[in-house]
Symmetry: C2
């Protein structure tokens, strides 16, 4: 088999793409991606996970070059990228490229924004670099998915570092060779494993991918060389990290087929595979108006990945509860909620939630897709009610509208920076392409 | 199969081991490891690779907490660990755990020294932490080698991050749970691929492993949690990174069998697998006294890994030439040299070296071990001379003596910091266990 020059050709595209080559609909989706990511970064900013990361890194930080979104601190570019990547993912509320389950913006936008602040770059250039980075990230993901993910890699970390490197390389104005080196330095830092799901280390993955991808491009800028075949070489990324290598997914129809336009935004703050269950349980609660006591049992038939990824029977913390379809179903039925407040430490240990959670069962159902579920509710009065979700809210078939994104943004960020600042930040975020210097937007994100 | 609690048990050992539990011979080898590593870090300190890394990171560095060995700069702990890891490996002249081809000290000592400077820790404690870190690193390497390496991983990076995390955790005084978290954070950052051999990015691997391992422990110190089963879980390190998982190599005879005592030190500044060839060619040169013109051809029968790892036919840079058995044989025959000066950009492009290099052939020989080679020299006068190396110099069977380590140290570090400072540094290095504060030793390493 003749292997194409994947790394060099991809680098060429990153370098040569002109702003006018990005179609309007792709850029519109890019703005939605940016707005959603920024809201999540603010929403997660005062999570204990972010506090502890901040406590660890403060002793090493350099000049105050970039904003830590939703917090008073400013850090050097690399640490700001790390922290923003963590905060934007810690609530599991961000965005999803459904073909690969990559959460694209965390690694890419966290890097691009911090770099752009240091170099005083316009919002329009940052937006385009973010779109390019997400395209690189999702295409590399497509080339190795699903084998790569099935092996146990957290693809948001492993593919994300390439996206962060590509976006940063573009912002730094690297040439083709140095962009290829940056991709090589990304390849050799690609990391993140699924065992970490349910711990603080999960959100470390997009943060570190952002930081490492940015570092890759800065090293290349300084002439630190690397392989120009980091992705496709025999002992390169794709062969080591996956049994599947479909390079046409990376190079095919570059600039015509846009993976960045397929991004979706989570309506619920947890693993995407339990969204159909939450959607259906909230609908059942609204339709039936029953209390937890009236429910005898809940039987779920789901996609097989649901149990592999979110099968925790007895979560003990808020972060663990995001990986429990049982917890999510219980809270959706009891509270009608799938927002960040549905996955707190206190709800994970709430007696009523636990009592109903333990009456939820789940098994893989034949022909059930990733955005589907069949829920059977058995009530104490003998009734059995079944609800089938064909396409969960937030999926490509039922995307969040701009006003739903607004509501999501305001709800989570008002809790952190207050309603007034959240409103100003939201307004500035929608106007990102008009910002002369992108750092001006982030000025609205500091808490009062 | 019942999988033991590898991560937690290993963490317990790291935490509980007392200084008196380390046997004298193990600690003696630890001192030799430290002396050799320090000399290599000085020797590589003004390499272009280090200059370029420094140029990239300076803009982000924090407080001047730790020494960049052999250079005037002081950087924050994390960046100093990165730079020292790069400089100590860039000449491919460091140490080798021959069972796994791990170069143990780069990741571990680079982290431990920088951390110890920040926290004003004694030489004795640093030495013990380094020994413990190397033990963890090599045992994890043993558990997955050779499948892991054969797949394309650069095991010095992938296993090294665990060693750096373990050493740092011990220096920070973390408890068992937090040490397990540090190992989990190491697992999820484990990286480095073999495609990078021959570029600056190869030495980035031990540097980044040092930095990332240290970061893992600092995060754990701040309560940033992680899996406590990062090594052995189904979607954990060992299962994802290798088809072989022999946990007995990690937990068996802990504290009785010491991998750290098996370290070896390179007599030549290149990949270990071509050392038998260089050893034999230098012997042939000394015995025959022939010039390059008098040699018609050189035929090598080697271990199969030699061609896989060092089969570059036409290296164009000094770094590439370290991965060319042809270049190494040519220079050894022409100059009698395998030191860093045998692998410079100018020798890689030298006409005489290239002319003889192109008359060297190599093929795998049946029954040839990794520390063996058979060299057939055909001379223009018709003679054929054969040399068989049973155990190359520097191998476990023919270790470098302390005075050979002295000579190696002085030769490479005098070039960078001058003979006087090199002598003082060497003397201080042998006394590491007596240093009240380990940073005092490194004060001798700055160039005049």
């Amino acid at each position: 088999m003749i292997v194409p020059d994947v790394t060099l050709e991809l680098a060429q595209w990153v370098v040569q793409l002109r702003p006018q080559d990005i179609p309007d609909d792709v850029r519109r989706e890019g703005v939605r991606t940016f707005v959603n990511w920024l809201g999540c970064a603010v929403g997660g900013a005062n999570h204990e996970t972010v506090d502890r990361a901040m406590a660890a890194v403060t002793q090493f930080c350099g000049p105050q070059q970039a904003t830590v979104i939703g917090r008073p601190e400013r850090l050097d570019v690399l640490h700001a990228a790390l922290l923003n990547g963590i905060s934007s993912h810690v609530l599991d509320y961000d965005d999803t490229h459904l073909k690969t389950i990559i959460h694209p913006a965390g690694p890419v936008a966290s890097a691009a924004l911090a770099v752009a602040e240091q170099r005083s770059i316009s919002g329009a250039r940052v937006l385009d670099a973010m779109i390019v980075g997400i395209e690189v990230e999702c295409r590399i993901g497509n080339s190795i998915y699903p084998d790569h993910y099935d092996r146990g890699w957290h693809i948001t970390g492993t593919a994300g570092v390439f996206g962060a490197a590509a976006a940063t390389a573009r912002l730094l104005g690297l040439d083709q060779q140095r962009t290829a080196w940056a991709l090589g330095l990304a390849a050799t830092q690609s990391a993140g494993i699924r065992e970490m799901f349910g711990t603080m280390t999960k959100s470390f993955h997009p943060g570190r991918a952002a930081q490492n991808g940015a570092m890759a491009a800065y090293l290349a800028e300084s002439g630190f060389d690397s392989s120009e075949r980091g992705i496709e070489a025999l002992r390169g990324f794709a062969n080591i990290y996956s049994n599947k290598q479909d390079y046409n997914e990376i190079l095919g129809d570059l600039g015509r087929r846009w993976e960045a336009a397929l991004n979706s935004y989570k309506p619920f703050a947890c693993g995407i595979v339990i969204h159909p269950t939450i959607d259906g349980c909230i609908q059942l609660r609204n339709e039936l108006g029953v209390s937890g006591d009236e429910i005898e049992s809940v039987a779920l038939r789901t996609h097989p990945l649901v149990l592999e990824l979110t099968g925790k029977k007895t979560p003990k913390t808020g972060l663990e509860s995001k990986f429990s379809v049982y917890h999510a179903a219980s809270v959706a039925l009891l509270k009608g909620d799938g927002s960040p407040e549905a996955f707190t430490d206190s709800l994970a240990t709430d007696a009523e939630v636990i009592a109903l959670r333990d009456r939820v069962s789940a098994e893989p159902g034949e022909g059930i897709g990733e955005d589907q579920v069949v829920i059977s509710l058995r009530l104490r009065d003998g009734r059995v009610v079944e609800k089938r979700i064909e396409h969960a809210i937030g999926s490509v078939k039922r995307p969040l509208s701009n006003s739903e994104l607004d509501a999501k943004f305001m709800r989570q960020s008002s809790l952190v920076i207050g309603e007034e600042k959240a409103g100003a930040l939201l307004n500035a975020a929608w106007q990102v392409a008009e910002a002369g210097i992108v750092g001006d937007i982030l000025g609205h994100s500091a808490p009062a």
